[in-house]
Amino acid sequence: MNDYIAAVAAPLRGPRRVRADMLAEIEDGFEEAVAEHVAAGLDRERAQAAAAAEFGAPGIVAAEVQRELAAAQARRTAWTLLVTLPAMTIMWDLFSGDGDPGVAVTLLARIVDAATAVAFGAAALVLTGHLQRRAASVCGLLGLVQIAVALGCSALIAVVAQGEGDAGTWAVLAAASGVGSALVCASSVRALAVARAAAA
């Protein structure tokens, strides 16, 4: 990697493959520009300086690339929300039993459903292209809010429904929710970090 591409690459954050792919493309073009200047009679060092002047300040190019990385990360996080949230909801519905859980548990479950619906809806809007501005921030934020609400309400449900249901069911629910929450959390945090880099 030459100095110019390294300078463009330095501040970038986002999906590694997309980042590498975009940098490879810019590097190809940069080398083509250098080759043109060398063919015109410049030595390699001067040719690189001339190509760098043409391509523009690395910070300006990096800012535009970062915007694309944020868009790519937003789509990834949106997919994670779109797949993981319904899976977790179905798990809870399957294992919650047929008996009347009482008003408190029902209310808490509805709150989780509402937070899930909001995050799921935003993810769908991002993936259908209806939400583009700040897509990464929105997905990251709503993903974290959903997890916070779900964990908080689940803890309360566990307290309220204490003693009901067998330990095996609770273990399965806790494990499934834990895995799902970890996935959503990791992807959401990444989306927020990439969005922050794009805003900087």
Binding site: M22, G29, V61
Partner: protein, 105 residues
């Protein structure tokens, strides 16, 4: 014309360039320079993220290809891109008319 003056029109210029036939990033940059009579002075590195943005919008499609020992990402205009180009040209014409009318040129 500098980067500020061209802001917002770059997409239309790229689409117009690709209407002449598929091309890779540096060929697009060279074509923009040539067809503008060397008057278009934009940081050419920003053309690459602009290409990704247009690809994401469905206006162009890009694929890596191996041509004469060199790996290049080649872009071509899509149906949607052709429509976007026509709209860009219409928008530019109406903006130009408004400017001319107000400036009394």
């Amino acid at each position: 014309m500098d980067a500020d003056g061209i802001h917002g029109q770059l997409d239309t210029l790229i689409l117009a360039t690709l209407k002449r036939g598929e091309a890779h990033g540096y060929a697009i940059i060279a074509a923009l320079r040539e067809h503008s009579g060397e008057r278009l002075d934009l940081p050419s590195g920003t053309v690459y993220p602009a290409l990704r943005r247009l690809e994401r919008a469905g206006s162009i499609s890009g694929t890596w290809s191996q041509a004469s020992g060199r790996r290049r990402r080649v872009y071509s205009l899509t149906e949607d891109g052709l429509k976007a180009l026509e709209k860009g040209v219409r928008d530019w014409r109406s903006l130009r008319e408004v400017m001319s009318a107000v400036l009394g040129a």
